[in-house]
């Protein structure tokens, strides 16, 4: 077992030892589905899974599943041989398919993980649910709001599990922070900021001897398959806003353009949307892929603090003075003669921004191991075994996708797009 394997396993085991998460799980019940206790309840059973689309994200899911005790990957499907070969190398015993419909006919498959291009999510999910499979579908949920709604209805109709890949909902530091935000500890939410800046052409390599695969491999760049930055990047960040405020935005304005990567692609490389909640609070999402200086940011701005979710920090509006006097008091009470640390140039509340912040989750694991992805997979496995839909998880994913699609509509139509009553579930 390599170091990454150990880290992933350790992370899942660690969930049970974070006391504060118990309270967070109470506030956000979907998290209870991936706790060690929930996993113990499935003991002796395994979720037999088929992976449809083991490309980059699909491979990541496979790696996580290989570390989950009650997961068994029994089938793999891709119509791109290179991806299928890579996945098969990781799961030697799995049956291989090139037609996803055939995989859905496989009686040994209890649940499927759909990690295909956006335009396929709807058709595959509907078919899988009708075939009696539990479904994990990557975000964004579907290409249109109507498709999202139909998928939701199909889940209700069949009673099968349906989860959308919103992994931040399972990230322990997000859970802890959101619980505190929702409790009002930091005052009211006054703004939500999300951005994702990269500097790259967002392309994947096309084999030189198969140029006809360009649209197939680089599906994110073409309107037929994807809605670009809004559906591929914005989902997570927009879901943060509904999570933090407990509300749905009622409208969005947006603009987007092709600024730099004018290479024949059909989606924008620069987008900016502003969503407005019923109480007037704005939520912004901005993405540019020709400058990476600002990187990725997801911040909840409250009256008394700014919560940097991926940064695992809370920055108070009014920096608190932390001297060593409290330690001195504790030492005196214990009978210890000690020194106290406070000497420095004058601490000034007016001038001192809270530069260092307060940690949300001590020892949070940075990077992919800490973003909730493995907990999300554990949740899906437990749900496949139990047949029980985790509470609220689909609804959060659904609205995250609806908001992405609304934003792209606003950009394309150059108008304010309002939340339609028909989309409310």
């Amino acid at each position: 077992m390599n170091k990454d394997n150990i880290n992933r396993r350790a992370f899942l085991e660690r969930l049970g030892s974070i006391g504060a998460l118990t309270a967070a799980a109470g506030a956000f019940p979907w998290f209870q589905s991936c706790t060690p206790k929930a996993t113990d309840e499935t003991k002796g059973n395994v979720a037999r899974l088929g992976i449809i689309g083991p490309g980059s994200r699909g491979l990541l899911h496979i790696r996580h599943l290989l570390d989950i005790d009650n997961a068994k990957i029994v089938a793999l499907c891709d119509n791109y041989p290179a991806n299928l070969e890579k996945a098969a190398a990781l799961v030697p015993g799995a049956k291989l398919y090139t037609d996803w419909r055939k995989l859905l006919e496989d009686k040994e498959v209890d649940g499927v993980i759909i990690a295909t291009p956006l335009h396929l999510h709807y058709e595959m999910t509907i078919a899988a649910l009708e075939a009696g499979k539990h479904v994990f579908c990557e975000k964004a949920m579907a290409y249109t709001q109507e498709q999202c709604l139909e998928m939701y209805r199909k889940h209700q109709q069949t009673g099968k599990v349906l989860i959308i890949g919103q992994q931040r909902m399972f990230d322990p530091k997000y859970l802890l922070a959101m619980k505190r935000i929702r409790s009002g500890e930091f005052g009211p939410v006054v703004n939500v900021r999300g951005y994702w800046f990269r500097n790259g052409d967002w392309r994947r390599e096309v084999p030189a001897d198969h140029p006809e695969l360009e649209r197939h491999i680089n599906w994110r760049l073409y309107r037929e398959y994807s809605r670009g930055l809004m559906t591929e990047l914005a989902c997570h960040q927009l879901q943060n806003g509904t999570w933090a405020t407990g509300m749905l935005p009622e409208k969005v304005i947006g603009t987007g353009n092709l600024v730099y990567w004018k290479d024949g692609r059909e989606v924008q490389d620069s987008v900016c949307c502003i969503y407005t909640f019923p109480n007037g609070v704005n939520m912004t999402f901005e993405s540019v892929i020709s400058n990476k200086h600002l990187g990725m940011g997801e911040s909840i701005l409250c009256k008394e603090a700014t919560i940097d979710l991926p940064g695992n920090r809370i920055y108070r509006e009014h920096a608190t003075y932390k001297s060593g006097m409290h330690h001195l008091i504790t030492d005196i009470e214990k009978g210890i003669f000690s020194s106290t640390a406070f000497a420095g140039t004058s601490w000034a509340a007016d001038n001192n921004r809270d530069l260092h912040g307060e940690v949300i989750l001590e020892d949070a694991v940075p990077g992919i191991e800490g973003d909730g992805s493995i907990e999300l997979m554990q949740t899906f496995c437990n749900s496949v075994i139990s047949g029980e839909q985790p509470k609220d998880v689909l609804e959060e994913g659904y609205y995250g996708s609806i908001l992405c699609l609304m934003g792209d509509d606003a950009i394309l139509q150059e108008r304010t797009v309002k939340m339609e009553k028909d989309w409310i579930i």
């Binding site: 005196i332 009470e333 210890i336 003669f337 106290t340 000497a343 420095g344 140039t345 004058s346 509340a349």
Partner: protein, 371 residues
């Protein structure tokens, strides 16, 4: 009222603690309630008295509060009466510190900063065009400050900003203000800004020392924002109070460190029971530490965000020394003024300046040491 804490968890060392915001920072006081104020209620009343007194000081010396006497002075032109004995006392004291510090402490250092920022060499450095160091030296010499003059000459209109008026009563051409001692008046010029930020906290600490002393408290540690501290008596379990920088200063990294009195601590720290309080501490982890025993200390340097905020009164520019300055001595007021002056002054003048303040020592610490 701000925070208050009273503890008798250690019967041999009961303690009281109060903390509150004042003077744009945080004040903290820890005292051992012996000598007649042993109970919670008495200590709480003492804390209220301390807070009330410091907020009263704040109301006088806060130049950003339009209602304060200092703000009114800054808004005045010509000759006006100084409100209250305490403000007059600090004006006079400020003048004495300015002279003794060769001009590197100045409550009017912010005056005419606009022109300095636009490229002028400052109100006293002249327009020689010489390099800053040379300009400072020239300015210092030209001011002919009467360093040995007795304090607060009684004659009216004399001793205006360090220079004796000429026959016509004229005062130094570039002096932002002058004090008129007989009538407790001040005469200010356009652009004069009086700022007591570099001594008001020290003065407030001395006021608290007096309050505690009158209440019978013998042992206390006072901290004003980390930059000014005063130790009355000693730690209830030790021979003195020990104060470390907010961030440890390993001795092996103190290449720039100059000290005359700073102490080291580490492996020899003892508990009350005589046992090592820090098992495994090696000499390499020894930290810089300052001992207070009926004495005070003050730190001056860049602010905690790393920005300069102390103006060199001679050049009118921001003082940008490489090391922060810690001054120790009996009076918290003098410590504050002196650390400010030494931070602004060129290092080659430090010994000359400190020689004018008997009983005070200084330590120059590398910038990163105090973050």
């Amino acid at each position: 009222m701000g925070d208050f804490y009273f503890s008798e968890k250690n019967p041999r060392a009961p303690i009281a603690f109060c903390a509150f915001d004042a003077m744009h920072t945080r004040f903290e006081a820890l005292w051992v309630p012996d000598g007649g104020c042993l109970v919670y209620d008495e200590c709480r009343a003492l804390a209220e008295r301390i807070e009330s007194e410091i907020l009263r000081m704040d109301a006088i010396f806060n130049r950003h509060d339009p209602a304060s006497p200092v703000a009114r002075l800054n808004g005045s032109r010509g000759r006006v009466k100084v409100e209250g004995e305490e403000l007059w006392f600090l004006l006079e004291l400020g003048e004495q510190f300015r002279k003794a510090s060769l001009g590197y402490f100045d409550i009017a250092a912010l005056s005419n900063r606009g022109s300095a920022l636009q490229g002028s060499s400052g109100r006293s450095a002249g327009a020689s065009g010489a390099a800053p160091g040379a300009a400072e030296d020239a300015a210092c010499a030209s001011r002919e400050m009467p360093r040995t003059e007795g304090p607060w000459a009684a004659e009216d209109a004399a001793d205006a900003y360090g220079e004796v008026p000429g026959p016509g009563g004229a005062w130094a051409a570039e002096a932002p203000f002058r004090l008129i001692h007989g009538s407790h008046e001040i005469e200010t010029r356009r652009g004069c800004i009086l700022d007591f930020g570099a001594i008001a906290k020290g003065y407030a600490l001395e006021r608290v020392r007096k309050i505690l002393d009158e209440a019978g408290v013998r042992n206390a540690l006072l901290n004003f924002g980390g930059s000014s501290a005063l130790g009355m008596g000693h730690h209830p379990l030790g021979p003195h109070w020990e104060v470390r920088p907010a961030t440890p200063v390993p001795c092996e990294n103190s290449a720039l460190l100059h000290t005359e009195q700073a102490e080291e601590r580490g492996a020899d720290r003892q508990t009350e029971a005589g046992e090592s309080a820090e098992e495994g501490v090696t000499p390499k982890k020894v930290e810089r530490c300052f001992r207070l025993l009926d004495s005070a200390m003050s730190v001056s340097g860049k602010n905690r965000e790393g920005r300069d905020h102390i103006v060199n009164p001679i050049t009118g520019r921001m003082a940008g020394a490489k090391a922060d300055i810690v001054v120790q001595g009996r009076s918290a007021i003098i410590c504050e003024a002196l650390s400010t002056a030494l931070y602004a002054a060129p290092s080659e003048l430090h010994k000359e300046i400190i020689a004018n303040f008997g009983g005070y020592t200084f330590t120059a610490l590398p910038r990163e040491a105090l973050q």
